[in-house]
């Protein structure tokens, strides 16, 4: 395996991007989950699919656009989707989740049209839906690196503001925090991470890498930083195990990464249950 990675550039691209996504997706995922926005990642990923499908269709009909990396249009679609979600959330103040339904439907609708116009499912589209070990180009890797730098700088600058906003929005506003702007930036960065992750995990599974490692970490962590460290650890473990098994089994890495994440989650839940029952037993014992 290591020899193959050293010899083949496509494997280097896939593993380097995978490791970076294993870091940034759960990192941002912690904030997404505690802010109860996990479905927004799904909505944005479907908008990204519309962008990708649109780009693939255009590349067929306009030869000049064949050179354009579909990821760029995907990124533009995701970022526009994130801004629109915010607009709709403000429009339907008392039914904020409607924004997710609207954007998700729009994303799926446009995707269906573009995929049909591009003569149905191709192997390209399949790769974008479920991820691919072989399809990550050097250019894709560079895009992932640039997005990762943006995410890390954003979180370093806004960590304490995002924590306060996630924990207690009213208090954050009373502290003079421009909640609306910080939130909009956060949504845009989320859109970037979704666009960056789709090459490896695929559009349909990208939100899982943002939520499953966090779901596992929240059962164990006492504090917020601890939740972040554990989420990244579980995310990386899922990406490494998932990519290696996808390579050997010759299947889509999105599936193996997500299934590994679910296995990690189940192990954590089981360990926590055993640990809790041991504690209760010990306490009962000390009472007797």
């Amino acid at each position: 395996m290591i020899e193959a990675i050293l010899n083949y550039q496509f494997l280097q691209n896939a593993f380097a991007s995978g490791l970076i996504i294993g870091l940034i997706a759960p990192l941002l995922g912690v904030f997404i989950i505690v802010r109860r926005l996990s479905l927004i990642a799904d909505a944005l990923s479907h908008v990204t699919l519309a962008g990708i499908a649109g780009s693939l269709f255009l590349s067929q009909s306009v030869p000049f656009l064949a050179l354009l990396n579909p990821l760029y249009i995907g990124i533009i679609a995701a970022v526009s989707g994130s801004v629109l979600v915010e607009k709709f959330r403000r429009l339907y103040k008392h039914y904020e989740e409607l924004a997710i339904a609207i954007i998700m439907s729009a994303g799926i609708g446009f995707s269906a049209i573009f995929i049909s116009l591009a003569n149905g499912f191709s192997s390209d589209i399949f790769g974008y839906l479920f991820g691919s070990v072989s399809a990550v180009s050097r250019q894709d890797l560079f895009i992932v690196i640039v997005i990762a730098i943006i995410v890390v700088v954003f979180l370093l600058l806004f960590y304490k503001e995002l924590f306060l906003l996630s924990f207690d929005e009213e208090y954050a506003k009373a502290s003079g925090l421009p909640a609306k702007w910080v939130h909009l930036l956060f949504m845009i960065v989320t859109a970037l991470v979704i666009a960056a992750s789709m090459r490896i995990v695929g559009i349909l599974l990208v939100s899982s890498l943002m939520t499953l490692p966090v779901a596992a970490s929240m059962r164990l962590a006492k504090g917020f930083k601890q939740a972040i460290y554990l989420s990244v650890l579980f995310g990386e473990a899922a990406v490494i195990i998932g990519l290696v098994s996808a390579f050997y089994l010759d299947i889509a890495p999105g599936g193996t990464i997500v299934v590994t994440s679910i296995i990690i989650l189940l192990i954590v839940l089981l360990v926590k249950k055993i640990w809790l029952s041991a504690v209760i037993k010990r306490e009962r014992g000390s009472l007797v």
């Binding site: 505690v34 109860r36 600058l157 806004f158 304490k160 503001e161 924590f163 306060l164 996630s166 924990f167 207690d168 009213e170 208090y171 954050a172 506003k173 009373a174 502290s175 003079g176 925090l177 421009p178 970490s217 929240m218 962590a221 006492k222 504090g223 917020f224 930083k225 601890q226 939740a227």
Partner: protein, 249 residues
């Protein structure tokens, strides 16, 4: 003329759509006061606090905070805020007590700036003020309602405020812990000279700790020393509250 009050509201009114919530409120609070704002449900108490905090803009009238116009007031760290426990946070949130209290430093440091080097000491000091110094590594969700509310006071105290605004802070707290909670507030008021503005229903419990009372029901029906409030007749109280209120002793 520059106001010498911590909080100075003049003829403040607030309207939400067509509903008048507050009408011609004039209220002054000076440094070291311990003011209890009393009023029936829907009397505009929380709206009044939100106007003081700058979360809502009055439809008319003026707000001065520490001698500055409310909208120009930049020293947000001078006014600490503690809301009702029930709507403050999601109890499953993975955060330690230390992390929660440290988050109050955002006011002091400002946006995008690093926390000060002595932030650890500031957090420990704030926790000590509320008697929770040994809980810093605990998860916030595993504490009782009363303990959580103390942590939220510590979060407000960590930026060294001159004034604390509390919106029914004892809602959802066991009755036996309410007394010690108010004792702690009285101690902060006495020893650190922190001005306290408290919206509450616990008229009896809080009465021997406060200095002033304001009775609110869309307008201010009474504002003055606690002793004068105690002299009010039953008719006066009915006129304000809509029905009879127990006298405080």
């Amino acid at each position: 003329m520059k106001s010498t009050y911590d909080i100075d509201l003049q003829q403040v009114s607030f309207q939400y759509d067509q509903t008048v919530v507050l009408k011609n409120i004039s209220l002054q609070v000076k440094q070291g006061d311990f003011l209890a704002i009393l009023g029936p449900n829907g009397s505009g108490k929380s709206t009044l606090l939100k106007i003081i905090l700058g979360l809502l803009k009055p439809t008319s009238g003026s707000v001065h905070l520490f001698g500055q116009k409310g909208r120009d007031f930049k020293q947000k760290e001078w006014i600490g805020y503690v809301s009702q426990k029930s709507n403050a946070f999601n109890s499953g949130f993975p955060a330690t007590v230390y992390e929660v209290v440290a988050s109050g430093l955002v006011k002091k440091t400002g946006l995008l700036k690093k926390l000060p080097k002595n932030s650890k000491n500031l957090v420990v000091d704030a926790l000590t003020s509320v008697g929770m110094e040994s809980f810093s590594k605990h998860s916030i969700g595993e504490l009782s309602g009363g303990q959580q509310q103390r942590i939220f006071i510590a979060r407000a105290l960590v930026s060294k405020p001159k004034c604390l605004v509390l919106d029914e802070p004892t809602v959802g707290i066991d009755h036996q812990h309410v007394q010690s909670f108010y004792d702690m507030l009285a101690k902060l008021n006495r020893e650190q000279n922190i001005t306290l503005i408290l919206v509450t229903h616990d008229v009896d419990t809080v009465s021997d700790r406060i200095s002033h009372v304001a009775c609110l029901n869309q307008t201010i029906h009474f504002h003055g020393f606690k002793q004068d409030f105690q002299q009010l007749s039953d008719e006066d109280r009915k006129a304000w509250y809509g029905h009879s209120v127990r006298k405080i002793h």
